[in-house]
């Protein structure tokens, strides 16, 4: 644990490397601030000694006053710039860390997202980065100045009187012990607090998007109770944090006074015996006070440091999570895809225990249309997920144009395969931005053509602003069927070599569905198409039909062949049309 903490610290420091020049500038400015800080009292001392007590001629005092003011002016300006320079470094670093983290998240496998709530992931990108920010900008700025000060004080003290210096610092071990005791407890608690914030965020994310349902089912009270409980748990951890720091923070001051008392006790007989000058004692007391100034500050800031450190750890933990990390650009480029798909004895399980797909083997030739049927939960969507390499197969292999899909560049692979997913997701934006996403290569004409293909142009035409009409978060102001049409249009617009439809017309009315099927006939002609559907009418035109049952392929063949077989398919068929 200790090791890790240190690593975190150094890792954080590494982000400063590109800004080394600015850091030096800030350091220099800090030095100027310190010097002017020290110069002030010195100038006043001269004024008192020379002009007031020494009763020198009256004119010089004005000059001294001016000098004093100038030194303050220089100090203040340096202070401002130091603050600004350091903060601009810190903000830049925050930006860098956030982007690095976000990029990393983009390439995490879906498995990760299945297990971690979006609120928790979000907390890393927002709150944790924010608390790092606080640590940097709140503490480093001060630390910078203080380090110089501390070194200076210790050096002068040593010069003055070695014994007394050691005596004065005899309390330092107490500080170390107290700090250590505090740190272990506080760290643990900080972790808890952070985790709870993550959970609160997770809860909020889920309940805000599910608020409609909660209201319809009138379960506000139950949900409120759940939130209250979570909030209360957070409150307790948070109050404990306060209690801990309430004990720790004032302790630095107490120890400071203890140090002074020890010094006085030690010096009293010696002062009486005149072995120690009273002036030296006086100086030491003021040095100890000066020394403890920054230490006090540090105790004040220690919380921020710890909490920032815990956040940094959490951030790095996520950055280091690379199980199944998707590497986009390594592998064989895939420029031309004929569209031959081959599954060879594929076994797959989401959790590593229960096989969802068992020994799946089939081949789809270029340009063919193949349909999958089977009860819900039989594993049809899973097959599609594997084809886009959203999950890794455990046994067997999947070949595209005769090459294992793992060998292709992932981005190329996914660009060639477009899936109309069962769960529609729309982004906040416009109709057009949802169809072409961020792909600049897709022209407005192509967007419109894609919309026409799936008959979405009809409803889009009626929206205010048409293709520029606003789409709210998740498309919540559109009807479910309209949303599905948009996600369908998106897949068409990307002009893939392999088109996959996972119950893509489930929420769409029959008339539109028939129209889509017609245009699909045209689109599917020159590309491989996989269709999952429950309406047998949708799939009967397929070149081949694969019947999945509980993760196994049970029947395979043309519509007529399967009907003749008197198996699951025939059974289904009779259900639907009896």
């Amino acid at each position: 644990m200790r090791q890790k903490e240190q690593n975190t610290f150094f890792r954080v420091l590494k982000y400063f490397r590109p800004f080394i020049g600015l850091v030096c500038l800030a350091g220099f400015l800090a030095l100027v601030v310190n010097i002017t800080d020290l110069a002030g009292p010195y100038i006043i001392k001269i004024a008192i000694d020379d002009y007031i007590v020494g009763e020198k001629a009256g004119g010089g005092i004005k000059l001294i006053g001016l000098l004093y003011f100038l030194s303050i002016l220089v100090g203040a300006c340096s202070n401002y710039f130091q603050n600004y320079v350091l903060n601009s470094i810190v903000q830049q670093i925050m930006h860098n860390i956030r982007m690095e983290l976000f990029s990393h998240i983009q390439h995490l496998p879906l498995k990760f997202f299945d297990r971690n709530s979006s609120g928790r992931i979000l907390t890393r990108v927002t709150n944790d980065v924010e608390s790092l920010n606080e640590m940097y900008s709140g503490v480093l700025v001060i630390l910078f100045k203080d380090v110089f000060l501390l070194i200076g004080i210790v050096a002068t003290m040593l010069q003055l009187n070695r014994n007394l210096t050691f005596l004065s610092f005899s309390v330092v071990p107490i500080i170390v012990v107290v700090t250590f005791l505090y740190r272990t407890r506080a760290r643990r608690n900080f972790k808890r607090v952070r985790a709870l914030i993550g959970r609160i965020n997770g809860f909020l994310a889920e309940n805000i998007s599910g608020m409609k349902l909660v209201q319809i089912f009138h379960r506000e009270r139950e949900k409120y109770r759940e939130f209250k409980q979570l909030n209360e748990e957070y409150r307790r951890a948070s109050i404990f944090e306060v209690a801990l720091s309430a004990l720790f923070r004032p302790s630095a001051e107490l120890i400071n006074n203890l140090g002074i008392s020890i010094l006085i006790w030690y010096c009293t007989p010696r002062v009486f015996a005149s072995t120690v000058e009273i002036g030296v004692l006086y100086a030491f007391i003021s040095y100890i006070k000066k020394f403890f100034g920054p230490i006090n500050d540090l105790a004040d800031k220690y919380n921020v440091i710890l909490s920032g450190n815990v956040s940094a750890e959490r951030i790095f933990e996520l950055m280091d999570y690379d199980e199944g990390l998707e590497r986009m650009e390594s592998g064989r480029p895939l420029t031309e895809l004929k569209g031959k798909i081959e599954f060879r004895n594929v076994w797959f399980s989401y959790n590593g225990e229960d096989w969802v797909l068992k020994d799946i083997s089939f081949t789809v030739n270029p340009g063919e249309t193949v349909a999958f049927v089977g009860a819900t939960g039989s594993g049809k969507t899973t097959i599609i997920n594997l084809l886009s390499r959203f999950y890794q197969v455990q046994k067997g292999e999947i070949l595209l144009d005769g090459v294992n899909i793992n060998e292709y560049r992932l981005d190329d692979l996914r660009r060639r395969v477009a899936v109309v997913m069962q769960d529609v997701f729309l982004f906040a934006g416009t109709i057009e931005s949802n169809i072409r996403l961020n792909n600049e290569e897709i022209t407005p004409e192509e967007v419109q053509r894609a919309a026409e293909y799936v008959n979405a142009d009809h409803f889009i035409g009626k929206l205010p602003g048409q293709y520029e009409a606003e789409v709210k978060e998740r498309g919540c102001t559109l009807s479910a069927g309209e949303r599905q049409l948009l996600s369908f249009a998106r897949a068409i617009a990307f002009n893939p070599s392999i088109l996959v439809l996972d119950e893509a017309t489930a929420s769409i009315d029959t008339e539109t569905e028939l129209l889509i099927q017609d245009s699909l006939g045209k689109i599917a002609k020159d590309r491989t198409t996989l269709i999952i559907a429950h309406r047998l009418s949708t799939i009967k035109k397929a070149d081949r039909i694969i019947v999945i049952h509980k993760g196994r392929i049970r029947e395979m063949g043309k519509h007529e062949e399967l009907l003749a077989q008197d198996g699951i398919y025939r059974n289904l068929y009779e259900m639907q049309y009896a």
Binding site: F113, K212, L437
Partner: protein, 585 residues
């Protein structure tokens, strides 16, 4: 609003606050007295007027005083800072329960990630004001006033005035900068919310992002948001960093003036050298709290900015309320009447429902069919009062729907939505939907009803299986059936199924339809579907197109009309006929 809540909070915790502030003041005074005692000890030592043991005792007393300060500080930290944490949780609690009252319309305007930023970040800013902000404020007032008092009283009022004049400049600057600072901080908070919102959307849409290889574009988007945040933050720092140095410069001026003028006073014998030095010391003591003013102002400005952001949410009131609820029966009979209902969604122009009228006796079933976007779900949304319903158009059991208590209304309707949202909780919790009042048997019965029981018991954890966010770890049909179970377990008097079998395979569909038919025998039902087969048994069928009823009647009547419904039926039938022909021929 936020202010009101804070006042309420302060009032309920007034004892703790009074104690805490007393402790704070005491510790402040003791801290001020500490140097005096130390000075006295040193003086004694120097002049050797007292015995060694007395000095030892005095020093012990000093240590005791330090301990008292320690104790007082511990006390006020717990009492005051602890309350700030309480306040944070209190406000968050209020925030969430307020969110619960807000209508759908609100959620369509605000993004999830944005709202989350309010709950954590903005409330956090208020917490800071009541922790550090409050304490330094009180601390500053004590130190300032006592130093000022001593300075003016014991030394020289004129010198005090001269010394303080430049400080006024600092105060003016601080007040001048206050408003721009707040405006700037509003931008910072908004930029933060923007990052939160972008990230949230990205993570919930990660499947689409990956499927369409949008990672780079998404990075670019967030990069812009993050960069924007950096920029406004630096703008903010540029402004807020002015305060500290300004205070320093003003103090510098004060010191210089006091030095120049004070020294002539000393030379003229108006004040003693000791007075002069003491004066400087007190002026120095003022420096820390005045410099703190900068931080205090900053923190309060931030809190103010956040509180006005929060107010914007708190002041949003639902337009769906129980205005004059009548004493309706707990359980409806389920007679439903819609009279000349037209509806336009808020903030849009075109009418989505146009002059809809129909009547449904208790226990009857209504079938709704029509093209995508024809307004079927909208009708249900109104029935659930998810949007404000114009008065005098919808009646349940003869009572105007707006007069029915919202809770009773929604309790009575079992609704299976078109898009299936499950919570990332166990299937158990999802079916009973977090209500304690259902037994395990009831849950299982509901699951059986929805034909999902077999699926669930095949999972390793059975009903305890925790599903992913939005039910992501279930297949589409499994989700849909869980949400059917969730609706029927309520034993509602009106059951509404909005295209609820679209993801279910044929065999299961037949099973569920049979179950539904049985359950709808003694309750009112509304079934929306695209297949004639799923609604043809309804007592009354309405065909909607572009918000209008274009046909209505029962199956036979509609077939006889030979209109849209008939054609739809033919289309769906012809497909299967064709196949049969192909098969036989």
């Amino acid at each position: 609003m936020v202010r009101k809540y804070i006042k309420e909070f302060l009032w309920t915790h007034k004892v703790k606050y009074i104690l805490g502030i007393t402790a704070l003041i005491c510790s402040g005074i003791l801290t001020l007295a500490m140097p005096k005692l130390l000075g006295y000890i040193i003086d004694c030592l120097e002049k050797r007027v007292v015995s060694q043991s007395r000095i030892a005792w005095l020093t012990g007393g000093m240590l005791l005083m330090a301990m008292a300060i320690f104790g007082l500080k511990y006390l006020w930290r717990n009492l005051l800072i602890g309350r700030a944490r309480d306040l944070e949780c209190y406000l968050r609690d209020k925030f969430f329960s307020h969110l619960q009252t807000l209508p759908l319309k609100f959620y369509q305007q605000k993004k999830t990630g944005d709202l989350m930023a309010y709950a954590i970040n903005d409330i956090g800013a208020i917490r800071r004001a009541f922790a550090f902000g409050l304490v330094s404020l009180i601390d500053g007032v004590i130190i300032n006033s006592s130093s000022l008092f001593v300075m003016a009283k014991t030394i020289n009022p004129r010198l005090t005035l001269i010394g303080l004049a430049p400080l006024l400049v600092a105060v003016v600057v601080i007040f001048k900068i206050k408003n721009p600072l707040r405006r700037s901080f509003l931008k910072v908070q908004a930029a933060y919310a923007n990052i939160s919102e972008k990230t949230q959307e990205n993570i919930s849409g990660i499947r689409v992002v990956k499927a369409y290889v949008q990672e780079e574009a998404e990075k670019k988007k967030l990069g812009l948001a993050s960069f924007q945040r950096m920029r406004v933050m630096l703008d903010y720092i540029k402004l807020s960093a002015i305060v500290g140095p300004t205070v320093e410069i003003c103090f510098g001026l004060s010191f210089s003036l006091v030095l120049v003028i004070g020294s002539t006073y000393v030379l003229d014998g108006l004040i003693t050298l000791g007075d002069f030095i003491a004066f400087n010391t007190y002026l120095g003591m003022l420096q820390r709290p005045v410099r703190h003013i900068a931080r205090i102002v900053e923190i309060w400005q931030r809190a103010m900015a956040s509180s006005s952001r929060l107010d914007e949410i708190f002041l949003t009131k639902s337009d769906i309320m129980d205005d004059h609820p009548v004493n309706a029966k707990e359980r409806f009979n389920g007679a439903l009447e819609v009279r000349n209902l037209s509806f336009t969604y808020p903030r849009t122009e075109s009418e989505v429902l146009k002059n809809i009228s129909f009547k449904l006796e208790a226990g009857q079933t209504l079938g709704l069919i029509g093209p995508t976007g024809s307004g079927k779900s909208t009708l249900i949304n109104l029935l659930l009062r998810l949007y404000p319903v114009p008065r005098g158009h919808i009646f349940i059991d003869g009572i105007e729907i707006n007069d029915l208590p919202l809770a009773t209304l929604r309790e009575n309707i079992g609704y299976v939505p078109q898009d299936n949202f499950l919570f990332s909780a166990s299937l158990n919790d999802n079916i009973r939907f977090f209500s304690e009042r259902f037994t395990l048997e009831e849950i299982e019965a509901a699951a059986r009803f929805a034909s999902v029981y077999e699926n669930i018991i095949e999972f390793p954890d059975g009903f305890e299986t925790v599903v992913g966010e939005r039910g992501i770890t279930l297949s589409g049909g499994q989700k849909q059936r869980v949400s059917i179970a969730r609706a029927v377990i309520k034993d509602p008097s009106i059951l509404v199924l909005d295209d609820s079998l679209s993801a279910v395979d044929t065999q299961t569909e037949a099973e569920i339809l049979a179950n539904i038919k049985a359950i709808l025998k003694d309750r009112t039902g509304i079934i929306i579907g695209h297949r004639v087969s799923s609604i043809k048994h309804a007592d009354w069928i309405i065909v909607l197109d572009e918000g209008r009823i274009i046909e209505e009647g029962n199956h036979e009547q509609l077939m006889a009309k030979r209109g849209y419904y008939y054609q739809l039926y033919q289309k769906q039938l012809v497909e299967s006929r064709l196949q049969e022909v192909g098969e036989n021929g």
